[in-house]
């Protein structure tokens, strides 16, 4: 409760007066957000996406972000995604999406045996291999013995 009163205090003393010349009176959204007790940081920095979103997407993309990168991406992705929202101004009702760059039907060829890469060539760039296979760290926990 104390943190709420603190943020409320900041609201009326700084942000609200700051916004007064713009809105002339309390903006309705501001009143609503105050009523919902949404923390100050999220009330006024209405980014397209939050740190939580960025962390979720990073997990999907298998990227590990440090705090600085996460903060930077919240802003940058927010800006870029807001820019992308300009597309909403365009009515695309009934438009067929362009799924392919070229109009093509199936491409057929004879099923002939070719020359694949040799084992040696295919493994040449592998970070770790045993001459026959690519080696990776253990995937499944096989009953505690390693």
């Amino acid at each position: 409760m104390s943190s709420f009163s603190f943020s409320f205090f900041i609201d009326i003393t700084s942000i609200h007066w700051f916004l007064m010349p713009v809105f002339g009176q309390k903006p309705p959204v501001y009143v609503m957000l105050c009523a919902l007790r949404i923390p100050l940081s999220e009330r006024y920095i209405m980014s397209k996406i939050t740190e939580k979103d960025v962390s979720y997407v990073a997990a999907l993309a298998q990227l590990q972000l440090d705090d600085a990168a996460r903060t930077r991406l919240v802003k940058e992705m927010g800006d870029i995604l807001s820019y992308m929202d300009t597309l909403n101004a365009l009515d695309t009702e009934g438009v067929e999406p362009m799924m392919h760059a070229l109009e093509m039907t199936n491409v057929f060829r004879e099923d002939e045996v070719g020359t694949p890469l040799s084992h040696e060539e295919a493994l040449k760039n592998a970070p770790l291999d045993d001459g026959a296979y690519f080696l990776v760290p253990k995937i499944l926990d096989g009953g505690g013995k390693s």
């Binding site: 298998q62 992705m77 800006d79 870029i80 365009l90 760039n125 970070p127 770790l128 690519f134 760290p137």
Partner: protein
């Protein structure tokens, strides 16, 4: 005026080598000496293949000595963008991820150049994985603009444009996903053509955005662009998206005759957003067509304002899918601290991809993620269809469309690198061409007061590179001035 060998065009070099007036070895040596003299300042080359170049040149000379017919690019010295797979040397994509990658095969375009008796001098710099408009995103080095070493060469094929402009090679092969050949060609003052999607095989080109990527040449003359395109284009069984088309004769298309040509000016491209100096240069270029009997017509591309948003949804979506392959298993960087498979993926990618690549993977993953796919990716594909439709309608009224290549001339290092969105906006005139799969060319059209090149972009109908090259060649031959040589020369 006698020209030093390193200022000769690819066609002049080819003719001289074919006629025996000069040997391929002499040409290669001259260019290696030239690179030694200027590349310390320009920093275009990431790998110099001294021995390989002399070996290839010797092979061409031996072929000539045996009385065999030499290829269409006999002895022509070439710099290859870091993302073309070559059995020789590394294919790093200017990324820590692939810094030690040695391709087990050659890209189809690389093979075709070699079969045409070209000589490879090495590889040239680029933005990491071709993502960028200034080559500042390279993990290897900072390439400078030969016209002003404080300014960027453009990107992503910045090394290609800088090397060609500085006389380090007559020809460089680049790739263009949203302007990556044309914009650096414009900023450095050389010629760059992005062919129609499907014209040139993408096999062995490290993929960025597969529905937009195309391979093309950067050269000092339009004729050299035509010559190279004749060599590298054609159906390839290794690329299902390469189109089956009749044999081309782009060199033969350069007739100098533009009678009946209709040049379209999209009214959406000539707005206040365009830098006044660039506008003046491009309007002067259009006057050359007007004065020589071409018909100048007003056309409209109503969806132009949406192109950048569409592009950065589609290209990041495709990039996030394409770059998922860099998992540290079969090739590329694997983080030494990874103890589990999950860590191997996360640590390797996070450590080896630069900030712009990670930003695009993140954006692409976001727009494809559950709940956002329809709002972003599907919407973008629909608007892409509308953009293509705009061009179809415009091409009923004209044969080529003229525009600036870039809204501004080159800019200083660091001036846009902190603001990705501003950097993205510098692709405004080139991006639609990739979205609509059309061919586009940038031809130098003068210098600004600050001494930086401006570029005229011409856009053609799908697979009508002949009309495009004829129009570009006509302008180049009749513009009434020579671009001269950059101060670094």
């Amino acid at each position: 005026m006698t020209k030093e060998l390193h200022w000769k065009s690819a066609r002049e070099i080819r003719d001289a080598v074919q006629s025996g007036a000069v040997s391929a070895t002499q040409i290669a040596q001259e260019h290696l000496t030239r690179i030694d003299a200027v590349d310390g300042r320009v920093d275009a080359f990431t790998q110099l293949w001294r021995d390989k170049a002399l070996e290839m040149a010797a092979a061409v000379d031996a072929k000539a000595a045996r009385g065999e017919t030499l290829g269409a690019l006999a002895g022509v010295p070439v710099g290859l963008k870091e993302l073309f797979c070559t059995r020789h040397g590394k294919t790093s994509c200017a990324s820590k991820m692939l810094e030690n990658f040695e391709s087990p095969y050659d890209a189809t375009v690389v093979k075709k150049l070699e079969e045409a008796d070209a000589v490879f001098l090495g590889k040239v710099n680029m933005d990491e994985f071709a993502m960028g408009s200034s080559t500042e995103n390279s993990a290897i080095k900072t390439t400078k603009n030969p016209w002003n070493l404080k300014c960027v060469p453009g990107g992503s094929s910045g090394g290609s444009a800088a090397a060609v402009t500085a006389g380090e090679c007559a020809l460089s092969l680049g790739s263009d996903t949203g302007g990556s050949i044309r914009q650096p060609a414009c900023l450095c003052g050389c010629v760059g053509i992005k062919p129609t999607y499907g014209r040139v095989s993408r096999y062995g080109l490290v993929a960025f955005a597969s529905s937009l990527d195309q391979v093309g040449p950067l050269t000092r003359t339009v004729e050299d662009a035509a010559l190279t395109l004749d060599v590298i284009c054609g159906k390839d069984v290794m690329d299902a998206t390469s189109a089956v088309l009749p044999k081309t004769d782009f060199m033969g298309a350069l007739t100098g005759d533009i009678s009946g040509l209709r040049v379209g000016l999209p009214r959406e491209y000539f707005t206040d957003a365009l830098n006044p100096e660039m506008r003046e240069k491009v309007e002067c270029a259009i006057d050359v067509y007007r004065a020589n009997g071409a018909e100048i017509v007003d056309v409209s591309l109503p969806c132009s304002d949406y192109a950048i948003a569409v592009y950065y949804i589609i290209c990041t979506a495709e990039a996030s899918a394409n770059l998922a392959r860099f998992d540290g298993v079969r090739y590329g960087f694997r983080h030494p601290d990874a103890k589990t498979v999950k860590d191997m993926y996360a640590l390797s990618k996070s450590d080896a991809f630069g900030p712009e690549v990670q930003r695009r993977i993140m954006l692409g993953t976001y727009v494809l993620s559950s709940g956002y796919y329809d709002a972003y990716y599907l919407k973008a594909q629909k608007v892409r269809a509308l953009i293509k439709k705009d061009f179809d309608a415009a091409f009923e009224k004209c044969d080529v469309i003229a525009s600036p290549t870039s809204p501004t001339a080159s800019f200083e290092f660091g001036s846009k690198s902190d603001n990705p969105l501003e950097m993205y906006l510098s692709d405004i005139y080139t991006i639609s061409v990739n979205l609509a799969t059309l061919p586009g060319i940038s031809v130098p059209c003068g210098l600004t007061d600050a001494g930086l090149p401006a570029g005229l972009q011409l856009i053609g109908r799908p697979f009508e590179e002949d009309t495009l090259l004829r129009a570009a060649h006509f302008y180049e031959q009749n513009r009434g001035f020579d671009m001269g040589r950059p101060p670094v020369a």
